[in-house]
């Protein structure tokens, strides 16, 4: 396996981008990443796109072909384009597939994109589409929603470990605090704990401010082999190890409902491949589709003991000023969560941190970063570990 580096990143503003189309935002992110890397378009060998549900959201499938055409390589270099779908892990797996294509020697330069346009339809319909990632036949049809499954994880965690409603709320407070420092975030405003605790119920005990929003947005990366990376940058970020794992599609079939075994196994594989342990990680982007999801993630990734995640949040150990800053971008909650783009946006944030380009939200001396993405209620998980060269 050859070494692989990230040599370019690009991201659009996340939010309700009603005046822009799916292809507009996909192209913007791609061009930013290509410009950032300094490569010429002719150098690109392949394109990998993470996207969950363009068919349902905007009536457009064949997303790989669409994007490769409008970035200008369909009728010139005729490079291959692959669309990856794995619910919330779509972008993360697109990144992994691009990594593998270079590590294997098949390609020298690959571009990764992630995009989703979720606000062109009503919220009710958009939530129903997002809910398609859980088991339609044995969960949805009986009345379950994505949020209701998160709520049952939250209740189980509260009853088993004593996690409090306030600790859940603090996840949202800290992510909004970080988002306020990110000019690309959907929400750039700090919130108070009372705002979370007073917001309407979605599925008890979870409230509106516990859940990631519906968002539009796109993100992109340029990946290259070691010898190519050296030609373009003196500040490459190395992909140290990626782990992916699976679990049952239905939440009720899991060994435990408030541990994500897919995350545990993906993390184990990533740490082994990277030769790292949880305490080595300087900065992390984790999958906070809900506040409980972040608490479960920081435990399952090994940052804190099982059951101690809520307390760690309360003590702000995951804040920018804490020992392991988590979701410096604002996370899914404040940066926004255009599902297919999320896994790629997480890598963009980690690369910015490891290059020392995260401005007001920069983690001092960050050298090793981790990104964690989840599909569905925990049926898919991907953990990627990257290393800066500074």
């Amino acid at each position: 396996m050859r070494d692989v580096y990230v040599i370019g990143v690009g991201i659009t503003r996340f939010g309700e981008l009603w005046e822009r189309s799916f292809r507009d935002i996909g192209i913007e992110a791609g061009i930013k990443a290509i410009n950032d890397s300094g490569i010429a378009g002719d150098d690109i060998d392949a394109l990998y796109i993470g996207n969950m549900s363009a068919g349902a959201f905007i009536n457009q499938e064949h997303i790989g072909a669409l994007i490769v055409d409008y970035v200008g390589f369909a009728s010139s270099s005729h490079i291959p384009a692959v669309r990856v779908e794995a619910a919330g892990a779509s972008g993360a797996i697109a990144f992994k597939e691009a990594y593998l294509s270079i590590a294997s020697g098949m390609h020298d330069i690959a571009v990764v994109g992630g995009a989703e346009k979720m606000t062109d339809i009503g919220d009710e319909m958009a939530n129903a589409i997002q809910g398609m990632v859980i088991d339609q036949e044995w969960e949805t049809v009986f009345g379950a929603t994505y949020a209701s499954l998160q709520a049952m994880m939250a209740r189980a965690h509260m009853e088993k470990y004593g996690t409090t409603r306030e600790q859940l709320g603090m996840v949202s407070v800290i992510n909004h605090r970080h988002g306020a420092l990110n000019p690309d975030a959907q929400f750039q405003r700090e919130i108070k704990l009372q705002t979370v605790l007073n917001s309407g119920y979605v599925a008890e005990p979870l409230r509106v401010f516990d859940m990631a929003p519906l968002s539009d947005g796109a993100a992109s990366l340029v990946l290259a082999s070691g010898d190519v990376a050296k030609k373009y940058t003196d500040n490459p970020v190395k992909v140290k190890g990626i782990g992916q794992a699976s679990d049952t599609i239905s939440l009720h079939d899991r060994r435990e409902i408030c541990t994500m075994d897919a995350t545990v196994h993906a993390a184990k594989r990533a740490y082994e491949r990277a030769g790292a342990k949880p305490a080595d990680i300087d900065v992390a982007e984790v999958y906070d589709s809900s506040t409980i999801a972040e608490i479960i993630a920081i435990e399952d990734l090994g940052f804190f003991d099982k059951g101690q995640g809520g307390k760690a949040v309360e003590d702000e150990r995951i804040a920018l000023t804490g020992e392991i800053p988590v979701n410096t971008s604002g996370g899914l909650k404040a940066r926004g969560h255009p599902v297919g783009a999320t896994g790629v946006a997480q890598i963009v944030e980690i690369v910015k941190q490891l290059r020392g380009e995260a401005d007001k939200r920069q983690v001092k001396d960050a050298r090793l970063g981790l990104a964690h993405a989840v599909g569905g209620s925990g049926a898919t998980a991907v953990v990627s570990i990257l290393e800066g060269s500074q």
């Binding site: 009710e124 319909m125 939530n127 129903a128 809910g131 036949e137 044995w138 969960e139 949805t140 049809v141 009986f142 009345g143 379950a144 929603t145 949020a147 209701s148 499954l149 709520a151 049952m152 994880m153 209740r155 189980a156 009853e159 309407g200 119920y201 979605v202 599925a203 008890e204 005990p205 979870l206 239905s250 939440l251 009720h252 079939d253 409902i257």
Partner: protein, 132 residues
């Protein structure tokens, strides 16, 4: 809702199966036992569950799927059947302040949703409290 979903027996009377190689019960039925893999081929026997179990976790849904709007707020739960498997179902005939983890429940045959005003009505299981 596709016709094969409606015609699945398990949806109405809690028929799943059991791996006769290791003894594990499954609901819904599985063609392959995830513990025994190849050794379970041809050894999965149909099994009708008693329909009793307990609540493992629960929530009150305020922001439902469009098909369930008329019922809100309603209780959803993960239920562990006495034979072992878990499933997700609505809890009915239960006040919102009575539901709790560990509550004993049993299945009941109910209407789930309908395909519009003039369309097919979908039926399936829900659960209700068992008086102890």
């Amino acid at each position: 809702m596709p016709r094969f979903w409606r015609e699945k027996q398990g949806r109405y009377n809690l028929v799943g199966n059991r791996c006769t190689n290791c003894g594990t019960y499954y609901f819904p039925k599985r063609d392959i036992c995830p513990k025994c893999h190849r050794k379970s081929v041809g050894k999965m026997e149909p099994f009708r569950f008693k329909g009793t179990g307990k609540v493992v976790s629960w929530t009150i849904v305020h922001d439902p799927h469009p098909d369930y709007k008329d019922m809100r707020p309603y209780i959803m739960a993960i239920i562990e059947l006495d034979e072992g498997p878990k499933l997700t179902a609505q809890i009915v005939d239960c006040a919102l302040d009575e539901i709790h983890t560990g509550m004993r429940v049993r299945d009941t045959f109910r209407k789930l949703t309908e395909d519009g005003k003039d369309g097919v009505i979908f039926y399936g299981y829900k659960f209700r409290p068992v008086k102890e």
